[in-house]
């Protein structure tokens, strides 16, 4: 019973959430720039 609930939770909630989070991180990797700490506030 517990296993069944866990499996349902995984399939119906955690997996979709994980996929959504992974897609967002992928979007960051695709459209953002280099690592943030490399930025210099260069004002001559």
């Amino acid at each position: 019973m517990v296993l069944k609930v866990a499996r349902t939770l995984w399939r119906e909630v955690l997996l979709p959430l994980g996929v959504a989070a992974a897609l967002l991180v992928l979007a960051v990797a695709l459209v953002e720039g280099p690592p943030l700490e490399q930025f210099l506030y260069a004002v001559f």
Binding site: P16, G33, P34, Y41
Partner: protein, 571 residues
Amino acid sequence: MRLVRGMLVALLALAAFEGGSRQAGWLDPSRSPDPYLGFPGTPPLFVPERGPDGADVLRTAENKRDTIYRDSRFPVPKPPGEYRVFCIGGSSVRSEIWLNPDGSFPGLLGIELWGRLSGLTPRVINAGGGGQGSVQNLEVLREVLDDEPDLIVVYPEGGEKNTIPPSPQAALAVKDDESPLRASARRCLNRLRSYQAAKLAYQALLPRAPAGGDVSSAFSALATFAVSRPYRAENFIRPFEMKLDGVPVLMEHPIPAAEIERAHARFLRNLATMAALCKERGVPLLFVQPVRNLEAVFYLRFHIAPEEIQAGRIAEWRQLYERAVALRHEQRWEEALAALGQLRQLYVEDRDELAAFLAGDCLLQLGRPADALREFERPYLQHPMRGLIERAGQQAGVPVVDPYPAVLAVSTGGIPGYEEFTDSFHPMPKVNRAIAVAIADAMAAAGIGPPQRAADSPERAAASARLDAVVAGIPVPLHTAIVSAILHGDPQQAIALGRTMPEAEMMKMQPVTAVYLGWALAKTGDDAAAREWYRKLREQTSYARSKNLPPLNTDEDIVRNAFAGDVFAWF
């Protein structure tokens, strides 16, 4: 069916996260640091706020306020009768050292327009940000088009250099050039709090880059190098005088021509997009040619590419350069000028900024200021940015304001120098006034805004008197006065000026001034005093502790690593 269910669950969870984090004020992109410096997709410059009187205002976002941009605020909606102008640009627009009274050109333009516009209340909003180039200027313009502008003024300046590789901003700019969809995607995604969380997660996943940020300009690189090495009086002098007493490095241009072309094309494209957006919304736009200190040598190009010299004449060129520099050092002005003239004949096309400067200096010493000006202004008038701004204006039908003649007219001795600029680029209030008046004149000439009052009207006289008072009431910054005294051959005066500020305060608040004072002490030949100052600089400033200092042992290193490949010759 399962897929649809899964998508619904994910969407519901994201919606709940968005709602919850907005309610709780989490992950607000306008509050967290903005490392992307206003690139497309970063949060807006101005955010809504309730003013002290309960009225709604837009105010500079917390993460850009006081560090990059001024803390500006203005009412929404625009009150009836207000004539609203946004001035967009870099640090010269921001002019953060002229806060109270406001001696920036937007501040002075407000007063000038107050005298010229009848029945309207001008409000000029300073939207200049330190180090910002056309990429960020375009984003600010895109944003303020929604804030009921009557006029937008763009003053493009040296921040453009930050989009040249290997600068990290350039990595983003180049990727955006190659795939414009990235910028659009960021604009959409960055509105989501869940995306902010994903950004944090992504950063946590990446290996940590070496900490940086300490050495962010040619000045700080050279100051750091001087202070972090064992003491020599020369360490203080060389950063500021190497270009006066040395022959430019003979080397290929460190920045590949393709990178320069790409950045110039991007600059033109950004100005054209600004013009198109303003046209679409019916908002008048003005471009302003940036002005410079013609008596400053620090950022002039210090390398010559072999192909600039006629074939087989390199040895002769070097010999003549060494001779010209030595003769100038000995104050044999006529002979130095002749040697400079000879060496300039050896170029395929003379674009030697330093030779022009040295010739200008010799002519000035010989009492020929008009001829000197022709030489001093040559690097400025030939500068590619001027041509690009002119071209962008012509192509898009945007008036280009050139304040240079007005700046010349107000310059002491007729040559814009340290009386007119605080350093190599940043204008003093009297120059900002000339810029403001030039903009107001250009508005009248282009028919922008309502008809202006006559030049002899009492209102304009009153505005002029107010401008006189503001400009006269702002003192020369200490570091400018020190540099000016040294350059005019009076290091003792520079030291006396430096001693007017308590030592601890200078070390803490104005380390740049402290380095200039070291230069003055070294110039007097008082080795003990200079050595003692060096010790204090090491102890009390962060220069000796800076990280990531690139090699700066040779002149070539300095061109490559301190002056970023002499990037200012192109931007």
